[in-house]
């Protein structure tokens, strides 16, 4: 029941908002994973990013797609928490507990073992509009655990202009999602955490060249 509720909201509200109100151009759709375990990793500038990434998947796969978000942000209030869990289908990460010995990625690993497709923003934060921060190691640790799972890089352009961090005003501008060829831990040669992340970040940066020029400062 909950599953269908989430699917219905995403199909009848999220997708029309992304395509008809904001406008979304998709390049390289054939690279998207169709089944889990898989990871989709994207740059992060705006809450709109999640909306855009969820709108990329066909409705059949949608119930298997789970965005990963920060518990301290998305579980702040009861309403926000309910929306995050039941409408967005978010897996919360308790990043404040880092270093306590607790496995922060336990829920993510369970979901992946269960055949889910995780949507991850390796920057860990939205940062400045239309700029990329350093990547956190979580994505590499998940890839190490599932060495054959595809990690699909996605570059999102324009979401930071639609709704920058700190703004509550949504101003529609077309966005572009450029999807690259998936990379795997197993085909990274000596699959090493920092190499993997560096490679992923370079790949996403390179994808930005396929997006149209954006003049906004």
């Amino acid at each position: 029941m909950k599953k269908y509720f989430r699917q219905a909201i995403q199909i009848f509200i999220a997708r029309p908002v992304a395509h008809l109100l904001i406008g979304l151009d998709i390049i390289g759709k054939e690279h998207l994973p169709t089944k889990g375990p898989a990871i989709v990793a994207a740059n992060h500038n705006s809450h709109i990013d999640t909306l855009i990434l969820l709108s990329l998947f066909s409705s059949r796969i949608l119930p298997n797609v789970r965005p990963v978000g920060a518990a301290d942000h998305f579980l702040r209030t009861r309403t926000l928490s309910w929306v995050s869990r039941y409408i967005i289908g978010m897996i919360p990460i308790h990043r404040k507990n880092a270093g306590s010995g607790e496995d922060l990625l336990a829920d993510c690993k369970t979901a992946m073992a269960d055949g889910k497709i995780l949507v991850i923003f390796p920057e860990g934060t939205r940062g400045e509009a239309e700029e990329m921060e350093d990547f956190k190691t979580g994505v590499a640790r998940l890839a190490e655990q599932f060495p054959d799972a595809p990690v699909t890089p996605v570059y999102i352009q324009g979401a930071g202009r639609v709704m920058p961090r700190g703004s509550k005003l949504l101003v529609p501008f077309n966005c572009t999602a450029v999807i690259g060829k998936p990379i795997r831990w197993s085909d990274e040669g000596a699959g090493e955490k920092y190499n993997f992340m560096k490679n992923l970040k370079t790949t996403i940066k390179d994808l930005s060249q396929d997006a149209p020029p954006m003049k906004w400062d």
Partner: protein, 320 residues
């Protein structure tokens, strides 16, 4: 089924033939889109998505024309919004301008609101006068002065072509039926859009077959004098021949419009090409598979719509 037959029989004759002809063209194009890639693989690959998009666009247009001015106004409100958003996505704006951009989007509703309440004077002063002034003030109030004049100019150019100029298409749908006994207001609008798109296609075909001398290689390398003139003459003749069935124009006025409208459409095309060159893009978005963005399809109509509207108003219509 009976009501449907009655409904279809009530459509004016010229429109029935116009829609039928369009349908035949679509079927023919679709057959070519399937057949041609089999003979010459690779060369005609983009014809299939192009034809599929034509089906969708013609379907939306004919559907809205048949449903009446309300549906047509809603469709064009959305088309103007899509065009303006596409334009403002590519054109340079500043971080502080998000509020003014949102204001511009809302003014699309006000401008089409004037069409909805059938108030021509209100329509005339909304975008070119009061939105012009208000957006300039709003942008001044953001307090950032570097790039002010360039950005307000960019925004206002977009509002004129995407909202005010395209709005004339929707306003033509409000022409009283008594003034256009031949094919109704829908006939006027259908004829404008058909002729404008036909002109684009005729220029393309003439250029493809006879094109030698480039008109402006640094703006639009595919445009040739042979293509342009061949297109103008073909479209002009088509206009004069069909005008009596779709418009209340008499012979000489129809010759005048037939001679000028295709040239104006060409100007719209080349103006948008110059803008795309400046912005460094080939297509304005990927919205319409096989065609590019909304602006790539609407560029000529943004110029022909006001001209057609004012020429009809001058020569034939009492309403405007």
């Amino acid at each position: 089924m009976n009501w449907l037959m009655n409904y279809l029989a009530d459509i004016p004759g010229p429109l029935q033939i116009g829609f039928g002809g369009l349908f035949a063209l679509l079927v023919m194009g679709s057959i070519l889109a399937v057949a041609l890639p089999k003979f010459k693989p690779g060369k005609w690959d983009d014809l299939k998505p192009r034809m599929q998009s034509w089906w969708v666009m013609c379907g939306l247009l004919i559907g809205a024309l048949l449903l009446g001015w309300q549906a047509f106004t809603v469709l064009f409100t959305y088309i103007s919004y899509i065009a303006l958003k596409e334009y403002l996505t590519l054109a340079p704006t500043r971080k502080e301008d998000r509020g003014v951009v949102l204001f511009a989007y809302l003014m699309v509703l006000v401008s089409y609101g004037a069409i909805w309440i059938n108030n021509y004077m209100f329509f005339l002063v909304t975008i070119p006068v009061y939105v012009f002034l208000a957006s300039a003030v709003m942008m001044a109030l953001t307090k950032r002065t570097d790039g002010y004049l360039a950005t307000i100019g960019i925004l206002q150019w977009g509002l004129i072509v995407c909202v005010f100029n395209l709005g004339h298409v929707a306003f033509l749908m409000r022409t009283p039926a008594a003034e256009v006994p031949m094919a109704g207001a829908a006939g006027l609008v259908f004829f404008l859009i058909f002729v404008t798109q036909f002109n684009d296609m005729a220029q393309y075909m003439w250029g493809k077959i006879f094109g030698r001398h480039k008109i402006s290689p640094n703006i639009s390398p595919n445009k040739t004098w042979e293509g342009a003139i061949g297109g103008f003459v073909t479209t002009g003749i088509l206009f004069v021949v069909l005008a009596p069935y779709f418009t209340p124009l008499t012979f000489w006025p129809s010759v005048w419009i037939g001679a000028t409208l295709p040239v104006i459409g060409f100007f719209g095309d080349i103006t948008m090409s110059a803008i795309k060159r400046d912005l460094g893009v080939k297509d304005t978005s990927l919205l319409i598979p096989g065609h590019g963005g909304a602006l790539d399809r609407l560029d000529s109509l943004m110029f022909t719509a006001p001209w057609y509207f004012h020429m009809l108003a001058y020569f034939a219509l009492d309403r405007f």
